[in-house]
Every structure is written in structure tokens, then in C-alpha cells.
Symmetry: C2
Subunit: 395 residues, 2 copies
């Protein structure tokens, strides 16, 4: 667990929201109002907490995040919004802060109304329990089908000071690009204004959370909040420059590490696979091809079976819209060449690729032979664990 | 098995192409050259037989289709094209027909070269065996992972005569819209010119094969060929009118029945589910929403688990691009209302929906409450059978 970040405290407790019990209510608390930014789901069906957070984050300042697992409070209509308002208002009262500075976040089953009555009586206790060392408990309180907590940290040289960036996430299913995907919270002691924090978060998200997939679905609750206390003492970052770039790099590193942990934890997944497409005619085509391969169920079941079924990989790329000549394509699995000029290299190559595919982590490199653009996509295998996990989720 | 169609004969034999043995080489033979049309995969990676068939079908006339299972002859470069040319040329010689009137089709593992040496010595025997009653054997020779043959028939009143339309298909995986999907062959004794036959086939495909999904992937080999002998004796259909409409209706009925059999046979599938979206703002949005729901792995695993997890259905529709107000959405599963005005109707409704979901076939109706457009999509559940089938396919 990363060391505390100056200006932030965490707490967690068991409020009885998760059916199976365990920590399910978490608090991320800044000592004072701080700069904040968020990336939220673009799904048209947005949970009540996402609707409230979208409103409240516009000011670029926040004091706390109140998060629960076990109930998504999505598709719950006005009662859902009322419950999110009531619980965050109660927390605001205890803190003596404006309601607008408290952001709600929820994860769990869609359609169940947030049980405000289980949360309201515990809010004061939660605030009292908040400590700089509370991240470990917090990281566990936000989990649902995850196999374990996800944490990452990085440092950035900002002017004459060193800033720390620490992130925590939950997520194993419903992970897909172009949505914020998952719940994730990042705190930093860097001093940075709201507008550059927002653009830094966008840039870091595009390169990481928006280029990974578990099952192609997206959630009604995806929320990524970043809060900056300014306690590192650097001259506040107000726009482009070395400090901004260093901060984006650190933020990207944290989100990338969290993203890898999420995909590796893909419900029931056994292999973390990076799909790299090179030789594409444009970045957009490289991304389209990488995405088609990374999201193909036929490819993903072959990864599960450790089957170097390169025909499925070529087939997925072939329907992606990327322009290429199939007779110029080359493919490597974990560095083992398996296709050259569109033709398979035979059983020996496949046997060596099969060995590579036993590893928990490896790379597939598809060279379209059509240009110079490249893109990467993180994915995982689709096996019996995924089916069991998702078929039994609510029963 | 449908009765013979005047003007056509079929044959099948075991040529040793399928690893596991069994019938794997089929012949569809017209007594004389007939009108023909085809719909082929739009995947950029096209198997050798698809490339040849695309060239040869342009003339709108064909005498025979030579089809094999067990080897897709895809991504096999020039040797693959040479093998497809050699085998169809051999058949043309036996028939005394021009090469261009023999269409090749292959299905099976990608990357394996067609073993022409196993086919060439058997061609004369295949022609000699062709009989009007040979459809049953032919229907089994084209199968790969299918649980059984797929056959369908319909009749059309064309002028003063009745024409028959008989179709045969293979396919259980790699089934997805906007591609011809699967191997399918349709024969009819209707008299129809090449241009209207082509447009009829397009229209019938859009309404059927292009609105069903098993796993969202598409094949390098998808081929649908329709041949018309004219033996019904009707005045040849040359353009729009009652006879054309009747023929399109019969062709659509045949493709719809084959499509249902394909989805029901979706590798390891246990439930055939029609996703109907109504109340959309446009037909395109209705189709996008139906497609997003039908292809969502989270929805499909819930179908496998008989879990009326309506949150996943709403979530999938929410990311489809269709415009709607989540608070006006209604959902029924097999006729059981489960969501009204965006809010779940509770445990009793879910228990009743769960009962419906035990059935081998049912319907999900999502009303977006935003307009008057509707669309349907056929899908199936995603369970352990799918994973086993696709992870072990080549091993």
C-alpha cells in the first residue's frame, strides 16, 4: 500500500450494503477543499451518483468522495437521486462543507436503490475514522467482483519539488474504452489549477483506461476522480510546460498500472495480453484493428485455450475497417513469428507460440504492412471463469 | 429433408479433409447452367474460394458449387488460390463446363491449405453420385462445429405457377451482421433473371442473416449462393411486381428459418432469444440498440444464467448511440413486464421473468419510449459450451 499523500485521509466500514458482507462504504477526505476533476461514463443510462458528480465537479473543487460497493444506485429514478443527495448532504453537514463539494460514487448491482438508511447513521463514524493511512481499507471497500484491491503510485518532478500521485481502483468486468470505465480515485499533493488538472486527466485516460477491454461493455457508474491538495508546495501548474508534462506522465503511469491490474483481474481471466498493431495507415486504423482483435470473443477464447489461432486474429483485423493487404501481414505472439506475408509459418512456430501463451502476460504484435501507425490495446482471455462469474453474479 | 427441386442434384463423400472423419466434400450440381447470385463476406481477409467465387459470380450464371468442410483455405496465399482453381477446374472438366461456372466454397480452420490431392481423384465419383435426393448427405458434408444439419424450404406463387425455394446452411460460430455470414446454398426452380435474383438475395439477407449474432465475429469464408433453374415454368421474373415480391418473401422465409437454426446452434448455446427494440427515434437507432443488447457478453452470460439482469440490458442500450430518456424505458422478458419508466418492478417480476428464461426460446422487448421505430435481432446465450467449443477447436 502506498504511503499517505499529504492532505488526504481515508476510511472504510461495513454498512451492510454488500449481500455477502465485508467493507462496503468508503470515504476519501481532503483536509480542506482541493482542486478536482473527473471522467465519467458516456453511457446514456447514468446512475444517480454519476449525475450528481457530473453537476458538482464542474466547479473544479471538492472536499470528499463518499463511495459504496454492493449497490450501483442506477436506474433507480428520483428515489435514487434523493438517496445520493441525502447521504452526501449528511456527510457535508458533519464536515461543515457545502454539499456541492461532496461527490458520490456507487458500484454494484444495477436497479437496486441505495439504502440510505444504512449509510446515514454511519457518516459521523466514517469521518472520525478517516486517517492518512486509511487507503488500504478504502481500497477494499470499493471492490465488487474483483479478486483483490488495485493500487498504484508514481512521482513527478514539478518545478523544484517532487509530487506524489497515488491511485486506487475497482473493476474487473464492464471494462471498455471511450468511457471512463470502472471506479478509480487518484490523489496527488501537486499544486495544479482545475483546467490543467482536467486536461491532464483526459490525456492520461485516453492513453490508458480508454485502451483496455475485458468484455466490451460499459457501466452506468464509471467514475474516475482526481483530487490535488497542493501540499507538495510547487508553484501551481497553470498550463503547458515541463511541470505539466511531468505530472501527466506520472498520472498516466498510475492509470496504466491500475488498468493492467483491472484487465489482469478481468472476471476469471488467466492471461493479460497486450495487442499491438503496427504498420497501419493511420493511428485511427491501428486503434480500430487493435480494438477488433482485443474484443473478439473468438480471439479471447483462443487465448484461454492457449491456441495460437492466428486465423481468428487476422479475421478480426479484417473486419475492423483498417485497410491492409492480407498478403503483407505479419504476426508475432510473444516474439515468436507465426505469420509472414499472410501465410502461417507452420506447426513448429505454432508449438513455440503455444508455449508462450502459457504465460500470465505476453504480447501479440500484428504488422499490417500498410503504413507506419501503431496502437496498443490491453485485453485478457475469455474462459469458464468469466462465464461463471457473470452468469451467477446476482444469484 | 425437403423434396428435390427440379434441375438440381447433390452429392457428398468423405475425402479425409476433416480431422475427425465423416462427410467433408459436397457437390451442388445444376443439370444445366442456371441463373446465380451470391452474398460474400465483407471481411478484408477473404479466403481463396471467396476470391474466386466473387470473380465468377459476376456473370450471373453457374453450373455447380464444390464445397468442403474441415479446411477454410484462407490465408493460404497463392498456393491456396491454385488449389481452389485446380479442384474447380477438375470438376469443370468432368462436367464439360467452363471453369467460370464452378464456384468453390470452403469452411474450417483458417491457415490450412486446401488438400487438392485428396479432392482431385474424387471429383468424377462425386459427379457420378449426384442425385436429386442427395441434399441430406450434402447438408451434413458442409458442417464443422454444428450440432446438426440446417435445412429450410418455402414456396412462392409466381404468376400461374408455384416455385419452390430450398436452403441448406452450416454455421454456429462467427455469425454476425453486415457480412454474408456462414455457408448457405439456396436452390429454386423459379425462373428469374440475374439482376432481380441478386437484389432479392440482398433484400432477404438484410432482413435475416444480417440481423443475427452468435459472437460478433465474422469469417473469412462467408458465402451464400442462390441458384435458380427456371424449371417451375413461370414467366421469368425480370423486375418488381407480385411475382418478385412473392419470391423475396419465400427466400426471406428460408433464410430466416436457416438463421434461427444457426443461432439456436450457436456454439454451446441453450437459448434462442429475439431482442426486439421498439419506441426508437429511427430504424437505425432501433437496430443499433438491438444489436448492442444482442451482442453484449454481459447480457449473453446473464441469458445463460437465466438471470433477468435488466440493468445490463439497459446499460447495453445506453452505450449503443440510440437516443432515449432512461426514465421512459420499459422492458419485458417473454411478455413479463420487468422495468417500467426506467425502474425495476421488483423481485416478483424478476422471479416470473426467471421462469420464462428457462425456455429454449423467448423474446426480450425493450421500449425506448422515444419514437416509433423498431428492429429485431436474433441472439443466443454465452455459456460454458461456447468457451469449451472455441478454446478447444483446434487442439
Amino acid at each position: 500500500v502506498p504511503a499517505p499523500v499529504a492532505g488526504f485521509r481515508f476510511a472504510a466500514l461495513e454498512a451492510g450494503i454488500k449481500k455477502r458482507g465485508g467493507l462496503d462504504l468508503g470515504l476519501l477526505l481532503a483536509d480542506a477543499p482541493v482542486t478536482a476533476a473527473a471522467v465519467l461514463t458516456r453511457n446514456r443510462v447514468r446512475a444517480a451518483p454519476v449525475q450528481l458528480t457530473a453537476e458538482r465537479i464542474r466547479a473544479g473543487r471538492a472536499r470528499a468522495v463518499l463511495v459504496n460497493a454492493g449497490c450501483a444506485n442506477a436506474a433507480t429514478g428520483r428515489p435514487g437521486l434523493a438517496a445520493a443527495r441525502a447521504t452526501t448532504a449528511a456527510l457535508a453537514r458533519v464536515l461543515g462543507a457545502p454539499e456541492e463539494q461532496v461527490l458520490p460514487a456507487s458500484t454494484g448491482v444495477i436497479g437496486a436503490l441505495l439504502p440510505a438508511e444504512k449509510i446515514l447513521p454511519r457518516v459521523a463514524e466514517l469521518v472520525a475514522a478517516a486517517r492518512p493511512e486509511g487507503l488500504d481499507a478504502f481500497s477494499r471497500a470499493i471492490l465488487t467482483t474483483d479478486r483483490g484491491p488495485k493500487l498504484a503510485e508514481a512521482v513527478a518532478r514539478v518545478g523544484a519539488r517532487t509530487a506524489r500521485v497515488v491511485g486506487v481502483a475497482k473493476g474487473a468486468g464492464m471494462i471498455h474504452p471511450d468511457m471512463a470505465t470502472t471506479l478509480a480515485f487518484v490523489v496527488t499533493d501537486a499544486a495544479i489549477a482545475a483546467a490543467p488538472l482536467r486536461s491532464a486527466l483526459r490525456a492520461a485516460t485516453d492513453a490508458t483506461f480508454n485502451a483496455l477491454t475485458v468484455d466490451g461493455d460499459t457501466s452506468t457508474n464509471d467514475t474516475l476522480v482526481c483530487m490535488a491538495s497542493g501540499r507538495a508546495g510547487n508553484a501551481a501548474i497553470r498550463g503547458p510546460g515541463p511541470a505539466y508534462r511531468a505530472f501527466v506522465a506520472a498520472l498516466t503511469a498510475v492509470l496504466e498500472a491500475l488498468g493492467k491490474q483491472i484487465v489482469a483481474d478481468g472476471e476469471g481471466a488467466e492471461h493479460l495480453v497486450t495487442v499491438e498493431v503496427v504498420g497501419a495507415r493511420s493511428a485511427a486504423e491501428a486503434r480500430a484493428a487493435a480494438r477488433a482483435v482485443a474484443t473478439s470473443n473468438l480471439v479471447k477464447t483462443a487465448l484461454f485455450g492457449k491456441d495460437p489461432n492466428w486465423g481468428r486474429i487476422l479475421g478480426a483485423a479484417g473486419r475492423s475497417g483498417a485497410r491492409f493487404d492480407p498478403e503483407r501481414v505479419a504476426l508475432r505472439i510473444g516474439g515468436v513469428p507465426i505469420v509472414r506475408r499472410g501465410v502461417g509459418l507452420g506447426p513448429d512456430a505454432e508449438a513455440r507460440a503455444h508455449e508462450v501463451m502459457r504465460r500470465p502476460e505476453y504480447e501479440i504484435t500484428l504488422d499490417l504492412g500498410a503504413g507506419r501507425a501503431a496502437a496498443r490495446y490491453l485485453t485478457c482471455d475469455l474462459g469458464h471463469g468469466y462465464v461463471s462469474c457473470n452468469a451467477d453474479y446476482r444469484s
